[in-house]
Structures are given as structure tokens and as C-alpha cells.
């Protein structure tokens, strides 16, 4: 059965013989006699109810243009061949005489070096002796996620009016002659007004019926209308285009250069020189008017796991001015020019292991381990087959860091999908008070980790902090799966690290890494001949070979008894060998 549905699904455009009350479905290769175009109500697909004949003919017969726009299609893959199949039926009228026209056109679309080459394969149809000559004008072209095929007819005889409707199917051909349907759409050409407006005005119906307001006068107060059911659905826009969320730029406002504080990069020898100078009488005589303690002008000392951007050359810390004389340290140090630093950890390619559903949840699990940010689960369905990148934005002044996990695949380029925070600075105590604070903060972090319960079940979700600081542990709860034979779905997710910020992070791995838990499939020999693999297609049984198991069938044309038919369907659902 071949029909053309509007997007709502309820109504269809059918070809309808003029002299016969039955409705004939026009197939792409089947031409009928004189036909008209009708709108039919498809509420019951088995018995379509013709509603009204389409009589809205265009006056413009010099050039009938139909632009076929597909639904969003995936990006072209140059290893495949694509094909446009357009089936058009139309009726043209000269005076009071109406004539049918139907044809099939195929157009091969090949992608060669990212350039589309279009070759018209064949046009099968019958001109019915008229002057209609419909062709693909120029090439099929791509605009964003859609494909357009522009059909024209410029040979129509003057005085002819045309009303037409067509459907354009877009396929990706495979080497064995089969194909994937990758997009199709109802075409609305210049000669066909199968529109909501036309439907409303001529048939009194709407393709996309709005939800009607209940009539308060007709409401039965005793009736429960919560279960109201009506036609609807199928009106999604099928738009899976995505915005690439890029890693933001480093902030431009920085504490460095303000003059209030200065951050210096030092080596061990320089630190020792500064420490020695602090307690000399020469320096103290100068600064005693500014500070009561030499360490008051040293705000902090820390170990940073990355070297920030520096000014060229060495500079002398100037800690004040006494009686017109700058008080400087004698040890030149390198000045940090930007308190923000980006660390690019690079990328890794996450290739599918099986090339099947086993590469995705709930079978495979993926964790990413980020220095200073801990371990986190990644959504394997999201990242599989992609290139994963990790970049850090670090604030070397406060130690705060954000780790960006990006995904690059066919649909997106370096799109940020995950962001995790941490702290990279390991403070070095320079007074008894700062040492005490460091110890307290580390102890608090460990206590917070112990107090955090591991949640979630095997297979995903944020597990949170580890059970104990720096150690892995097992989650508390496990979800049972309905897949009795598949152990992967009942295995818990193991937390492999705990809290790893600040000083603890310095002791841990300094490069990110991912851990993949890949299931080991148990596959009997020649399994597909005994059980088959999931198919989920609608197909004529005669075109299939080998073991076949069906979901459903509408038996038609059998002359056997009902009991035989029941047995037949039962056998088909259990699996037969064609």
C-alpha cells in the first residue's frame, strides 16, 4: 500500500479512479487509468474514507515547480551512495477534461570530495500524450540538515492547469542492493494546495487539530474526563541538530597587574633566598614602619602543578615605600602575567569495540579520571565513537580549576558536554596558623568524603564522592536488570577514586585517563541461523532468506482455515526458515 500522508498522519492523498467507487493506491511503479486526487481520512487505515476531491489547480502552467524538502538527514558520508526517489502523481486539466499523470523519478546523489554529483538514473512514467515533462532541475542540493530536489515542468501546453502531489524518499544505498531510508517528506509543489488552510476551508477539518476547549454546558459533572483520548502525536520536528558549545576563553580580568598583589613563580633557590632575606636587619630596618612581622607581606606560598604565563625576565618584589625609598627584595623573581591558565590534555579516540548495541549502555561503562577533579561517569551512549578532549581552565591565584570534557563526532566539533571543578593549589604553610589551616582543610575534605553515601545503581548516574578519601569502593545499591542473561546490567559501578583536590591531587595521577569496562560477549557459533539478529523492518517475506521471526503480520489472501492460519502466524512469530 502506498499512500502519501500529511504530517499529522490522519489524512492522506490518494489517487482515485473517476469511474470506480473503490480507492486504488498508486504505487511508485504502477500506473492507473484516469485518476483524480482525493483527500482521504485515514483514521482506519484498512478502509480509507475519501473525503473530497482536490480541485485546487494552479493557474501557472508555464513552469510547475516542486521543491521536495526532506526531513533532517544525517551528514553525507562519502563511503555511501545516496539516492533520491520521487514519486509524483498529478492531474492536469485542459478546459473541462482532466487527465492523470504519474511517474517515478530516481536521481543518484553521490558525494565526491564533498561535492554533490547528481545523475538522473531513470524517469519512468507516461506522458499520456500531453506535454508534461517533469525533470530534476539542476542538482539536488543540501542546506543544513535538509536536502532539496527541485523539479520543474516548462513544457506544459498553454491553457493547462495542474494539480499534483508527490513524495520524495531519500535513501542511502548499501553494497548488497538494500538501503537505509534516511529521510522523506511530503512534497508540496506549486500546483498542490494540500495545506491546513485548504483542508479547513474545503473539508472543515484541520490536519493538526488544536485541542478543543471543553464546552462547559455539555460537561457532565459526574463524568471523569481525565482519560480523554483523541488523535494526536507524531508532530515532532525530528530536529536533532545540535549547537556546539565551545570552551570559553580565559577571563580577561585578572588580579595580576593591579599593583595590590603580585604573584611570582619561584624555584627552590629563590624561595630560600627570600626566606633568608626576610630576617636580615637591613630589610627589617626598612619595613618595620610598614609591618610588624616580615611575613606579613608574603600572603601565601603554594605548589602549582602547572606553570602559568610569565613576564620575560626577572623582577624585584617591591613591598612598599619608606621615606621616598622603595623597599625591594634583592632576589629577582619571575612575575606571573596572567592568573588564568589553560591546560590542554589532548584527545583520545573512543572506538567501538563491537560495532553493535554492546558498545552502548547498559553493556559498556566508561569513567573518566580527571586530575584534581576526581572520577566521573560518562554517558557511554553519548561519547561512544567520538573523540574525547579534556582541557582545564585554572586560576593559579585561588587554585580553582574547571575541567572541560568535549566531544567531537559527526554532529559536533569539540562541544563541551561535561564540566567538573576542583582545586589545583597545594598550599605550603609559612606560619603556624597557616599550617593549622592546611591540615584542617585536608581533614575536612576527607570527612566530607566519608560522610557522602554512594548512591545510584550499576550503569550510570553521578555517584558522587568516594566512600573514603583517596580510596575506591563499591556502590551501595545495584539495579537488577530484566535482561536475565546479561551480567553487565547488574554489575555495580565501581568508584575508583575519592576526593582528589589540592594537596591530595598532587599525589595522584597528573594526566587524565578513561577506564572502559567492555563486556565480553558470549556468542554461540552460527547464532544468526538459529536465532537471527534484531531486524525491526517491514518487508515482504518472499524477499527474505534464512531464519526469520516476525513481530506482526496482517495475513491476506490465505484460503486455509482459521486454525491453520493461527498456527501459521504462531510459527512465524516463533521463527521459520524462508
Amino acid at each position: 500500500m502506498n499512500s502519501w500522508f500529511t504530517d499529522g498522519g490522519r489524512f492522506a492523498i490518494v489517487s482515485y479512479p473517476t469511474a470506480n467507487a473503490n480507492v486504488y493506491w498508486l504505487s511508485p511503479t504502477e500506473q492507473r487509468g484516469y485518476t483524480e486526487l482525493w483527500v482521504a481520512d485515514m483514521s482506519n487505515p484498512e478502509t480509507p474514507a475519501p473525503m473530497a476531491r482536490i480541485t485546487d489547480y494552479t493557474q501557472d502552467v508555464e513552469f510547475l515547480a516542486c521543491v521536495f524538502k526532506t526531513k533532517p538527514i544525517p551528514p553525507f558520508d562519502p563511503q555511501y551512495e545516496y539516492e533520491v526517489r520521487c514519486y509524483v502523481t498529478c492531474t492536469y486539466k485542459v478546459g473541462a477534461s482532466e487527465n492523470p499523470y504519474a511517474f517515478t523519478m530516481r536521481c543518484r546523489v553521490a558525494v565526491v570530495n564533498t561535492t554533490l554529483n547528481t545523475t538522473v538514473l531513470d524517469m519512468t512514467g507516461q506522458n499520456w500524450g500531453a506535454s508534461l515533462n517533469i525533470y530534476i532541475e539542476n542538482d539536488v542540493f543540501i542546506d543544513g540538515p535538509y536536502m532539496y530536489a527541485y523539479f520543474g515542468n516548462d513544457d506544459a501546453t498553454a491553457g493547462e492547469d495542474i494539480c499534483g502531489i508527490g513524495i520524495c524518499g531519500f535513501r542511502r544505498n548499501k553494497a548488497d542492493g538494500t538501503y537505509f531510508d534516511v529521510g522523506s517528506s511530503i512534497a508540496q509543489g506549486g500546483g498542490c494546495w494540500i495545506s491546513r488552510k485548504w483542508m479547513r476551508e474545503n473539508l472543515g477539518v484541520d490536519i493538526y487539530p488544536e485541542e478543543a476547549e471543553p464546552d462547559p454546558e455539555e460537561e457532565d459533572p459526574n463524568e471523569d474526563d481525565d482519560g480523554y483520548s483523541g488523535p494526536g502525536g507524531g508532530d515532532g520536528d525530528h530536529d536533532h541538530s545540535t549547537d556546539d558549545i565551545g570552551i570559553p576563553s580565559l577571563p580577561t580580568l585578572s588580579a595580576t597587574g593591579t599593583g595590590f598583589v603580585t604573584l611570582y613563580k619561584c624555584n627552590l633557590a629563590q624561595i630560600r633566598a627570600v626566606a633568608a632575606e626576610l630576617w636580615t636587619s637591613t630589610l627589617w630596618d626598612l619595613i618595620k614602619n610598614l609591618f610588624t612581622d616580615p611575613l606579613q607581606f608574603i600572603i601565601g606560598l603554594a605548589i602549582c602543578p602547572c606553570t602559568p604565563d610569565l613576564l620575560q625576565g626577572g623582577y624585584y618584589p617591591t613591598i612598599g615605600n619608606v621615606l621616598g625609598q622603595d623597599v625591594k627584595l634583592s632576589t629577582p623573581l619571575q612575575v606571573v602575567s596572567n592568573q588564568y591558565k589553560e591546560i590542554d590534555c589532548g584527545t583520545i579516540q573512543l572506538n567501538k569495540y563491537y560495532g553493535s548495541a554492546l558498545d552502548y549502555s547498559p553493556y559498556e561503562k566508561i569513567q573518566i579520571h580527571l586530575p584534581y577533579c576526581g572520577s566521573h561517569d560518562l554517558d557511554v551512549d553519548e561519547v561512544m565513537g567520538s573523540t574525547i578532549g579534556v582541557k582545564y581552565h585554572c586560576d593559579v591565584l585561588t587554585g580553582a580549576c574547571v575541567a572541560f570534557v568535549t566531544i567531537t563526532n559527526d554532529e559536533t566539533t569539540a562541544c563541551v558536554r561535561y564540566q567538573y571543578t576542583g582545586n589545583i593549589i597545594s598550599h605550603i604553610p609559612i606560619t603556624e596558623r597557616s599550617f593549622d589551616e592546611v591540615v584542617k582543610s585536608v581533614a575536612a575534605m576527607g570527612a566530607a568524603a566519608v560522610g557522602t553515601l554512594a548512591t545510584a545503581a550499576g550503569g550510570g548516574g553521578a555517584i558522587g564522592e568516594g566512600i573514603s578519601s583517596g580510596e575506591g569502593g563499591e556502590t551501595d545499591s545495584v539495579s537488577m536488570s530484566a535482561n536475565g542473561g546479561n551480567v553487565m546490567t547488574v554489575k555495580p559501578n565501581i568508584m575508583r577514586t575519592g576526593t582528589l583536590s589540592t594537596a591530595l591531587g598532587l599525589l595522584a595521577c597528573q594526566k587524565p585517563f578513561i577506564t572502559r569496562t567492555i563486556p565480553r560477549q558470549s556468542l554461540p557459533l552460527n547464532y544468526k541461523t538459529y536465532e537471527g539478529y534484531p531486524s525491526n523492518i517491514t518487508e515482504t517475506l518472499g524477499s527474505l532468506k534464512g531464519f526469520t521471526k516476525i513481530y506482526s503480520i496482517r495475513p491476506n489472501g490465505f484460503t486455509c482455515t482459521a486454525d491453520e492460519l493461527d498456527e501459521l502466524v504462531s510459527l512465524l512469530k516463533g521463527g521459520v526458515i524462508l
Binding site: G259, V261, T262, K265, N267, F297, I299, A302, C304, P305, C306, T307, T318, I319, P332, L333, D344, G346, G355, A357, V390, L397, I425, N483, N486, M488, C509, Q510, K511, F513, T515, R516, T517, I518, P519, R520, K528, G532, Y533, P534, S535, N536, T538, E539, L541, L544, F547, K549, I550, I553, R554, C560, E564, E567, L568, L571, G574, G575, V576, I577
Partner: protein, 149 residues
């Protein structure tokens, strides 16, 4: 009625079976009150036919032979059950259906509750090329800096 006996080694699930005729077509009588789905046919033969399959011309159907009962010398009572697949093969192949599983036309990215895995998975790690590899000391001081001592 006219019946033809066959020997088939094709699996019962196969729609079109490979048949080897056993003898020529013969005449049999259907036992009273037999159905066309589970007929009981009596034939006269010198010895037990080595057949497990038959075709009844009048019923236009193929049958499995479920049982053969020997009444008395020379008379065999064949209990049969219709093979709905072979009998309706031509019409069956014209039907369209939603296919759940198939030997050749399939998509491995469709999940299947029948997938089975061993209890010991592969656990692999992949390290990123770079990380934090250049540690340093940082000292924060009050005030500014000067290029001259």
C-alpha cells in the same frame, strides 16, 4: 483420495521443504470424522512405508506424518498433521510483516534482550597525551614589582 508419500529431512521450520517421493502416488481412504488439519488416512501397502511426509491431492495440503498404526496385515493407518508452512508457501511469501529477527537483514545496533555476556569484562584504560607536567612554586606578595633592584 490420492496421496503421495514423501521422505523429508528438512527442519520443520523451513517453509519450503525438500521432498523425496516414496513410491508412486497411491489411493487412500480417509477415516470417518477426520479433519483436514489432522486427517487419519488408511492405505494398503505391502510394508511400512518409510515416509514421514505426505501430500493429499484432494485437500491441496502437505502433512507431517505423526504416527502410523498397523491395523492388520497390509492396512496402515496414517495419522497426519497439516504443514501450514509448506501448504501455504506461495501466499506466505507475498505477505508483508514486521520482522523481529532475521538471519541476513538485521541491525546490530538494535538492542536484544538475548545478548549474553561473560561475567569477566575487559577493563581497559586509555591515558590522555598530556596533563599537569610542569609544577612550580608560586609566591603571592603584597605590592608591585620593579625591573631594577
Amino acid at each position: 483420495m490420492t496421496i503421495q508419500l514423501y521422505q523429508t529431512i528438512s527442519p520443520p521450520e523451513r517453509v519450503t521443504k525438500t521432498l523425496n517421493a516414496v513410491g508412486a502416488a497411491m489411493t487412500g481412504t480417509i477415516k470417518e470424522e477426520s479433519s483436514i488439519i489432522d486427517p487419519i488416512i488408511k492405505i494398503s501397502a505391502a510394508f511400512l512405508p518409510e515416509a514421514n511426509y505426505l501430500y493429499i491431492n484432494e485437500f491441496k495440503r502437505y502433512y507431517y506424518i505423526n504416527n502410523v498404526i498397523c491395523d492388520y496385515d497390509g492396512i496402515f493407518e496414517i495419522h497426519a498433521h497439516v504443514d501450514v508452512l509448506m501448504s501455504n508457501a506461495a501466499v506466505l511469501r507475498k505477505q508483508k510483516a514486521v520482522v523481529a529477527k532475521q538471519q541476513n537483514r538485521f541491525n546490530l545496533y538494535l538492542n536484544d534482550s538475548d545478548y549474553r555476556t561473560y561475567s569477566d569484562p575487559y577493563v581497559i584504560t586509555k591515558e590522555f597525551p598530556t596533563g599537569f607536567t610542569d609544577p612550580c612554586y608560586l609566591m603571592l606578595m603584597v605590592g608591585d614589582y620593579s625591573s631594577s633592584s
